[in-house]
């Protein structure tokens, strides 16, 4: 079976249910994991996972090229945060699902990405960089809210997020100098 994600998305556009199933098999744990981390409960994470994949099937044209699992992650994270917001009053943030046309994102080989390695890379970040990154990604709060909660100036928070992301990228593939 062909697990090349972009190839599978092309077949999903052509209403190939077998290709969709292969896509589901390859990435449902990734999607479920994000939803579970954001929501903290299994039932909600399953609902989000189902919603994400049904959106892929019903609107595959929303994928405009690039990295398929990264796109799935953005949808999952946004949907999970929608659920969080429905449970509480939360400032609105979202990951860009529709990317700039000119963007070229290098593939992160999710199928081969070692979750343990990512966790280790995150753990090795200084606390003052890891904390705002995790609050922003999984907590879905704005940088202003992060600054308010941590009592750190906004400009410092932004710089730490950037420094942390660059270190993380460097640790993952060595392709970016910090």
């Amino acid at each position: 079976m062909d697990y090349d994600a972009e190839n599978l998305m092309g077949r999903v556009r052509a209403r190939d249910a077998d290709a969709f199933e292969a896509l589901y098999d390859a990435y449902h744990r990734l999607v479920y994991g994000v939803a579970y981390r954001v929501l903290g409960d299994a039932a909600g994470a399953e609902d989000v996972t189902q919603a994400v994949f049904l959106k892929v099937w019903s609107a595959p044209e929303l994928f405009r090229g690039g990295n398929v699992p990264a796109w799935l992650v953005r949808i999952a994270r946004n949907r999970a945060l929608d659920v969080v917001r429905s449970r509480s009053s939360h400032a609105e943030t979202e990951l860009p699902e529709a990317l700039p046309e000119t963007e070229t994102i290098e593939d992160v080989a999710f199928a081969r990405l070692d979750a343990g390695k990512v966790r280790l890379a995150l753990a090795e970040l200084p606390d003052d960089q890891r904390t705002p990154i995790e609050l922003g990604f999984f907590g879905g709060i704005t940088h202003e809210e992060i600054a308010r909660r941590t009592g750190i100036p906004l400009g410092t928070i932004k710089t730490r997020i950037r420094s942390g992301l660059r270190k993380l990228r460097s640790a993952l593939d060595g392709a970016v100098t910090v």
């Binding site: 589901y24 299994a42 994949f53 990295n67 992650v73 994270r77 979750a115 993380l168």
Partner: protein
């Protein structure tokens, strides 16, 4: 590069993380259209953001989730072309399976509840959901029987009279063919940061190997298909581990069951 542009690069990083409010996110999007340096920065950081997702602890979703998704997908497909000649009403097993599907699932719900010797509302509710989906299918004649249901396959496995069942604390380990399921109920809720993790002992091996982590639903129920071949598995265990799972058990297993 001036300070103002350095600040914009910081904003690009926050945008990539998804932590900008909508109005500021739109400003960054507009800027990315015209600034190559910022586009390059975004392209460098976005995969790191996406990779953070892979760090999320990933307990195994219910074995029934895929069935729900695939059923909804296949229900949207056009009806297959009709057969050249109508089949006799009494003979086609596939048609009969389709028509009887809801009732088989309902029977399976009951049989499973009886076989487990429990009245577990949560698990039964999961199975009832399968019945509801199957009823929807009954009204969608365009869905053919061979597309049916992973759920039915799971339920058929769980209720198969020839399945080997091992009663363990809070549930059963069910072995049918080359498949192994955990059907658990009334499992205690765990503190934040802890999950249940399944383990399997391959035949001939001396140490357990990690299997998926899982989190029971709010009623303490969990249904899990283990990603191993039963024929190659000597034992199954369950322990409590940190989120994300462990490479070897770090707590005394709650369940250790040899498979004969």
């Amino acid at each position: 590069m001036n300070d103002t542009h350095e600040q914009m690069l910081d904003d690009v990083a926050v945008y990539a993380l998804g932590a900008l409010p909508p109005a500021q996110a739109q400003q960054v999007r507009d800027h990315l259209q015209t600034c190559e340096a910022c586009r390059n920065e975004y392209a460098a950081l976005a995969p790191a953001v996406a990779a953070i997702a892979a760090s999320a602890p990933a307990p195994e979703p219910s074995a029934l989730l895929k069935g729900r998704v695939m059923r909804a997908v296949r229900a949207t497909l056009p009806a297959p072309a009709p057969a050249a000649a109508p089949a006799p009403a009494s003979s086609p097993a596939r048609t009969n399976l389709s028509a009887w599907g809801p009732y088989l699932v309902a029977a399976a719900c009951f049989a499973l509840a009886v076989s487990l010797g429990l009245i577990n509302l949560s698990l039964i509710n999961q199975l009832k959901a399968s019945k509801e989906y199957a009823l929807q299918l009954e009204h969608q004649s365009k869905v053919v029987a061979h597309e049916a249901l992973d759920d039915e396959r799971v339920l058929a496995d769980l209720t198969n009279a020839s399945a080997k069942r091992y009663n363990v604390a809070n549930g059963q380990i069910v072995r049918i063919g080359d498949r192994i399921y955990l059907a658990m109920h009334d499992m205690p809720a765990l503190p934040h940061g802890r999950v249940y993790q399944a383990w399997t002992l391959p035949k001939g091996a001396k140490e357990m190997v990690p299997s998926p982590t899982f989190v029971p639903d709010s009623h303490g129920a969990a249904l899990l298909a283990l990603p191993v071949r039963a024929a190659a598995t000597a034992a199954v265990a369950i322990s409590i581990e940190p989120e994300g799972g462990s490479k070897e058990p770090t707590t005394k297993p709650l369940v250790v069951q040899a498979l004969d």
